[in-house]
């Protein structure tokens, strides 16, 4: 069965075809969403919503299997943005019907790599102690209590240092224009 046939059967609700499509593409889609929401619970929710919306959309319009993955990412990005907008009560929802699947390429690994470089540079520009707090708390997932133990500080001091570090990082990252509402 060709990819196009699988896609068509999936649109018609065929469970085996849906499973085949999900199995082949869920990970890059999930990773793409996770990068933006940074928690598994929400990433799983949005991934599900993405497939439902994307497959519903393709009932109305034809999509080439070659652009299927980038189309999924575009749908996912719109859902994420809509959620942010709804939460902030500003702007209007993106209409999925407006998406042109042939022009759905979204930021790829190269962008992600460049982003990481900028974040690394930002981390280099805060004090050593502030960087350690950020590394322990955010990158290594330590609790405030464990971070305080490792750094031999009081828990309150860790929170203050963490707040200041994030403030400084936000200033630097804002300078790089990295807050794009994603």
């Amino acid at each position: 069965m060709s990819k196009q046939e699988i896609l068509q059967k999936a649109q018609a609700g065929d469970p085996d075809s849906i499973e085949e499509i999900c199995s082949a593409t869920w990970e890059p889609v999930y990773r793409y969403i996770y990068a933006r929401v940074q928690n598994r619970q929400e990433a799983e929710d949005i991934t599900q919503e993405t497939y439902v919306k994307a497959l519903s959309w393709t009932k109305k319009k034809r999509i080439h299997p070659k652009v299927w993955l980038s189309f999924l990412k575009r749908v996912a990005l719109n859902i994420v943005r809509d959620r942010w907008r709804q939460n902030q009560r500003r702007g209007v929802n993106t209409c999925i019907d407006d998406i042109n699947p042939e022009q759905s390429a979204v930021s790829d690994e190269t962008d992600e790599y460049a982003l990481r470089e900028l974040i690394e540079t930002a981390l280099d520009n805060i004090s050593k102690e502030q960087r350690t707090v950020i590394e322990l708390r955010i990158l290594q997932g330590y609790s405030v209590k464990d971070t305080a133990k490792v750094m031999k500080l009081k828990e309150g001091t860790v929170r203050v240092m963490q707040y200041r570090a994030l403030h400084n990082l936000a200033e630097i990252l804002n300078h790089y224009n990295l807050f794009r509402g994603e």
Binding site: G13, P15, D16, I18, E19, E20, I21, C22, S23, W26, E27, Y30, Y34, A35, R36, V37, Q38, N39, R40, Q41, E42, A43, E44, D45, T47, Q48, E49, Y51, V52, K53, L55, S56, R83, N87, Q88, E112, L115, R116, I119, E120, I134, R137, I138, L139, Q140, G141, Y142, S143, V144, D146, R159, V160, Q162, Y163, L166, H167, L169, A170, L173, F179
Partner: protein
């Protein structure tokens, strides 16, 4: 500001725990808070995402299919649940918070310590330690079993010298090129193949870290000082297995001691009494030298050759060389081993992964192992085993059988038999298969609903199944890992419900696996039998250590009996 400090800290904790923070659902955040949250999420992009469990893809497909079948398209079920929850009011919310406070605290601890251990292992290159093995009986009496000096690195190379115990003086080394064991009592040095290596010394740190990361549950249960080092005690429950404990060094973040579950009134405690982390294993302990007066016994006779034409001179055919291999690999060596089998070895540049492509002349009809997953390469059946099992043909001899982490794909075509073996995933092996054949490689897909329709259901008691899984883990009833064998016993019990006396009335040869995707299998029974098909599933654990359970069957129609 104090409030923001606390809020952003709680936000970080929530994300660290994989939970959706409440702030993502409400519009009550100040612009400052929004910017700080954005910053936290941006920084978290530096780390690998928390991926869902192995069953996620199937669950996702099922949920999507359900929603597409006209059930509130575009509004996931869990969203509906959350709306109900909000409506149910704050009492329910408070109750939930109370419950979560009880349960989440240990989970938070678990996530952090396991993650920290994984990171700590990432940061080391090699280690040198003194490992003590102690046997403890049901009365708590201890007996020193062994003390060994260990050098090991992350490429799987090691040097083990037995300092105390029954094997005192024995040295076992694998330097990646070859493996040897020096036995002073026998004045012998035995040579083995460096890969695959069935002996991974007990309490190897990489395996320990992997096991903890893949456990179904981990819980911090206390602190203790071990070998003069402060350690956190972690109770680890493998999926479908029995809990054991490890002590994690608070300073290094790495395992220091492991205590097995008590089995038959015996348990084992393994402790690194000393351990240091080094850049590399010293070259002098990894170089092969036959001690004076020792005999050399080669258990791995294979002749290294320069190219495939030299192979042809030795075995009479030019072996196929993969014309395309994954980028991270390079060809390591070409050899001819016993049975005139060509053996081309590929290794990743970091030397961590090895894949061997074997080719020999086909000898008889292709018979896949009964516990193999069956795929197709072109029109030919492919035997897929992960871990490697009791294959016949080109993989016979059992040199790969049962090795954790080793997978194999074997098939025949045009008078030749091929196998691809490696300490990598089946998907990676398939890339090598694709390099030597243009035939399509088809891995088994989940059985379709129309094929999985047992006419009779078999009631399953999960408690019994879980206990049987534990028996398997302890080394008993290994036949439960073979779906054909399980189906064989089931069919015979159906044939003789009053009890089997003497030989089984339905011979094992009458059964054939017609479908096996590793988690579901269908076995067909021929000849004089009341059962035509047996349907089996791995209910307790879905990997290769999981037992098979009969969940349904097709009885033979009355007119056929």
């Amino acid at each position: 500001m104090i409030n923001t400090e606390k809020k952003i800290s709680d936000y970080i904790d929530k994300l660290n725990d994989g939970q959706k923070p409440a702030e993502h659902d409400h519009s009550i955040n100040t612009p400052e808070m929004e910017k700080l949250m954005d910053t936290v999420r941006l920084i978290r992009r530096m780390k690998e995402p928390d991926l869902p469990d192995a069953g996620y893809s199937k669950r996702l497909a099922k949920n999507v299919a359900n929603q597409l079948q006209g059930k509130r398209v575009g509004e996931p079920n869990n969203k509906i649940k959350r709306m109900w929850f909000t409506g149910a009011g704050s009492v329910a919310a408070l109750l939930l918070i109370a419950v979560l406070l009880n349960f989440l605290v240990p989970i938070l601890g678990r996530t952090n310590i396991v993650y920290a251990m994984e990171q700590a292992y990432e940061d080391i290159s090699a280690y040198h330690g003194i490992l003590e093995v102690v046997e403890v009986n049901g009365e708590g009496k201890e007996r020193l079993q062994a003390v060994r000096e260990v050098w090991a690195n992350k490429e799987g190379h090691y040097f083990i010298r037995e300092l105390e115990g029954t094997s005192k003086g024995v040295i076992t080394v694998n330097n990646g090129e070859k493996k040897w064991q020096i036995r002073p009592d026998e004045k012998q040095t035995i040579l083995f193949a460096a890969f695959p290596d069935p002996y991974c010394f007990t309490f190897e740190l990489g395996s320990e870290v992997n096991e903890v990361m893949n456990a179904s549950e981990t819980e911090v249960i206390g602190d203790e000082v071990i070998a003069e080092r402060a350690a956190t005690i972690l109770e680890v429950t493998p999926q479908g297995g029995e809990a054991y404990r490890i002590w994690i060094d608070k300073k290094t973040g790495l395992p220091l001691q492991r205590q097995t579950t008590m089995h038959n009134a015996l348990q084992y405690r393994l402790t690194y009494k000393e351990i240091e982390f080094v850049n590399a294993i010293p070259a002098e302990v990894m170089s092969y030298q036959l001690p004076e007066g020792y005999a050399e016994i080669d258990n791995n006779p294979e002749q290294i050759v320069n190219d495939v034409h030299e192979v042809q001179m030795l075995v009479g055919f030019v072996p196929l060389v993969p014309y395309e291999i994954p980028e991270s690999y390079v060809q390591d060596k070409i050899a001819v081993s016993t049975g005139n089998v060509s053996k081309i070895t590929f290794k990743t540049k970091d030397l961590k992964n090895t894949v061997i492509v074997l080719q020999g002349k086909a000898d008889g009809v292709f018979e896949p192992a009964t516990n193999a997953v069956l795929g197709k390469i072109g029109q030919n059946t492919a035997e897929i085993l992960s871990p490697a099992g009791d294959s016949t043909g080109i993989l016979s001899g059992g040199s790969y059988a049962g090795m954790a982490g080793i997978s194999t794909i074997r098939w025949q075509k045009d008078g030749y038999e091929y196998a691809v073996v490696g300490n990598v995933s089946i998907e990676e092996l398939v890339q090598f298969v694709g390099g030597i054949t243009d035939d399509e490689v088809v891995l088994p897909q989940t059985v379709s609903n129309s094929a999985w329709m047992p006419q009779a259901q078999v009631a399953v008691d999960m408690e019994i199944e879980e206990n049987e899984q534990k028996s398997i883990d302890a080394g008993h009833i290994p036949w439960k890992l073979d779906p054909v064998f399980v189906a064989h016993v089931f069919a015979n019990v159906q044939a003789c419900p009053e009890g089997i006396q003497g030989d089984y009335p339905i011979p094992y040869e009458s059964l054939k696996a017609i479908y096996n995707d590793g988690t579901q299998a269908i076995v067909e029974v021929s000849g004089e039998t009341p059962v035509m098909r047996v349907y089996l599933e791995k209910l307790v654990r879905q990997d290769n250590t999981g037992i098979w359970t009969v969940t349904g069957y097709d009885p033979k129609p009355a007119s056929d009996e």
